[in-house]
């Protein structure tokens, strides 16, 4: 259900009553405060859910432009034909049932002085604190051939799960056996460090099954495999031997969409299906809200509260943040950001002390085929001297090898992190 502005105003008036009914005993009475969350992805949905769970007397609204949540983790399996998009698409009814107001719309401005989020339809939402969890947007400025909408409808990134994932899968299905899939992706930091290498495995798995004469050319802008190198090489040199041509230091110069060619500085690579992931920056609303502080791309934050270092009262989560050292841009990490933020926002609204020692942990699973999976894990703690999150020494690591056991854990992880955000 989409709320009209009038309905939303009515809800704001009625919500303190709703909170009293839904909330813990003794927490009735007027609303303790209003939080607006911009973006209902892994970061935003989880933050909304946890604020409501930990402080039912706080009014929480999520502004989200899509009517469904499509998971980026697991979405490479759609490309490999190992799952369907419907299996990674979920709704917002669980959040609504918890008393979180889900407003379908496009946030176009965060007015920190008036404490309002403005939507494209002209309506606005008032807040005491706002959480901006916009994910990423792509930087097309440096790719002349990809600037047009037509080009972007023919060469997909499929780096936000959804229609592009399905469209790229259709291109792979339509490609004749013996064709060449060319996949280019940017320098770190980018969303999901092991994601590109998992994608290579998934496409290889599909080709091996359905189009065994086909090849994959991997154009990695990075000087080497960024994540789980040994584990991915074991798959590429083992089960996918002879299928994958990996070329590091392959920074993108341009794309000739008509000629189906990826242009590098010193080389042109032609393919039957092209998949180009441009460099990213924090989602557009972060730029409009003045939250970008690093390299014109990322949002600097105070890691105790996730509050922007640029704009008071505005918190930023997930891939949009200027990552702390050794911290990946991942769904797991956004989930953990969300909980530190939810606790801090709740404390700040209620005048309570903020946790001085937040912890976060990360687990990223990668599927090498339809069943065998390996992980990379890390644990992060706040370092008061450095004023940032640091990886705990001696903790974390990677799998010894990909296994079906970790495949069951990966699906369990997915169902639980989805439930943690939306259940």
């Amino acid at each position: 259900m989409t709320l009209s502005r009038r309905e939303f105003v009515k809800w704001m008036a009625a919500s303190s009553g709703a909170a009293a009914v839904a909330g813990c005993a003794g927490l009735g009475g007027p609303s303790a405060g209003r939080v607006v969350v911009v973006g209902g992805g892994y970061g935003g949905a989880t933050a909304a859910r946890y604020i409501k769970q930990w402080a039912p007397d706080i009014d929480v609204a999520v502004v989200e432009r899509n009517d469904t949540f499509v998971s980026c983790p697991i979405s490479n399996l759609v490309l490999g034909g190992n799952t369907q998009i419907g299996n990674i698409t979920m709704g917002y009814d669980g959040l609504k049932a918890r008393g979180v107001r889900v407003v379908r719309g496009d946030a176009v401005a965060v007015d920190a002085s008036a404490k309002q989020v403005r939507l494209a339809d002209g309506s606005s939402l008032a807040y005491d604190r706002v959480i901006v969890s916009p994910g990423i947007d792509f930087i097309y400025d440096q790719i002349p051939g990809m600037k047009s909408a037509d080009a972007q409808n023919r060469v997909f990134h499929a780096w936000k799960a959804g229609p592009q994932t399905v469209a790229l899968r259709k291109q792979l299905e339509a490609m004749p056996d013996g064709g060449v899939f060319v996949f280019q992706f940017p320098m770190a930091p980018y969303r999901c460090p092991p994601g590109p290498y998992e994608r290579v495995c998934q496409v290889a798995d599909y080709f091996k099954r359905a189009k065994p004469k086909s090849k994959i050319i991997v154009l990695d802008a990075n000087p080497d495999i960024v994540s789980k190198k040994g584990l991915f090489l074991a798959a590429w040199n083992g089960m996918y031997k002879g299928m994958i041509d990996y070329r590091p230091n392959s920074e993108l110069a341009d794309v000739d969409v008509k000629g189906m060619t990826v242009k590098l500085t010193f080389d042109n690579v032609k393919g039957d299906v092209l998949n180009v992931v441009p460099p990213h920056r924090a989602g557009d609303i972060a730029s409009k809200a003045g939250l970008i502080t690093a390299n014109q791309r990322w949002c600097g934050i105070d890691w105790l509260t996730m509050e922007s270092v640029a704009v008071k009262g505005v918190h930023v989560l997930g891939d949009a943040t200027l990552s702390a050292p050794a911290m990946p841009k991942s769904a797991s990490m956004a989930n953990q950001h969300a909980k530190v933020c939810a606790a801090a926002v709740t404390a700040l609204i209620k005048g309570q002390p903020v946790n001085p020692q937040p912890m976060m942990m990360n687990t990223c699973y990668s599927f090498v085929d339809g069943r065998n999976v390996m992980h990379v894990a890390s644990v992060h703690t706040y370092d008061a001297a450095q004023k940032t999150m640091v990886a705990v020494k001696g903790a974390g690591g990677v799998s010894d090898k990909a296994s079906e056991l970790e495949g069951t854990y990966a699906w369990g992880w997915a169902r639980n992190i989805w439930g943690d955000a939306l259940g």
Binding site: M1, A22, G23, C24, A25, R49, Y50, Q53, W54, P56, D67, T68, F69, G86, T89, M90, G91, Y92, D93, G94, S332, Q336, K339, A343, A347, Q352, P353, N355, P358, M359, M360, M361, T363, H375, A377, V379, H380, V392, G394, A395, G396, G397, S399, S403, L405, E406, T408, Y409, W411, G412, W413, R415, N416, I417, W418, G419, D420, A421, L422, G423
Partner: protein, 118 residues
């Protein structure tokens, strides 16, 4: 219905937490936030959708603590838990164990399917 379960859990943890934890960690919010780092994999409040990875809600706190300490030392084999457990102090593991021991076991909250014409 669910808020009632959660509330019961919160109260139990508050009581258990105050008795067993050092002064710096007596704020129940600290244990709650530590436990929340686990729930991305183990399910909200330690109630796992489908039971894999296992539910933690309502388990015996001594068993939970010993299991995590055994992961930490490497005594108990694991795919990933030995790497996670090493990131937490024994005091933190104790707070986490107490928290989940105090949550009532119950149905996990799975994400709902997308509705057509939502």
């Amino acid at each position: 219905m669910r808020p009632t379960l959660v509330r019961a859990g919160c109260v139990a943890v508050l009581l258990a937490g105050c008795a067993a934890t050092p002064a710096w960690a007596q704020d129940p919010g600290i244990a709650r936030s530590l436990a929340a780092t686990c729930t991305a994999c183990h399910g909200t409040d330690g109630r796992s959708v489908g039971g894999v990875p296992p539910s933690l809600a309502g388990r015996d706190k001594g068993e939970l603590l010993q299991t995590m300490k055994d992961f930490k030392t490497g005594k108990r084999p694991a795919t990933v838990m030995h790497q996670h457990a090493k990131g937490y102090s024994d005091e933190q593991l104790e707070l986490i164990s107490n928290y989940f021991a105090g949550v009532k076991p119950g149905a996990a909250a799975a994400a709902p399917a997308a509705r057509v014409n939502n």
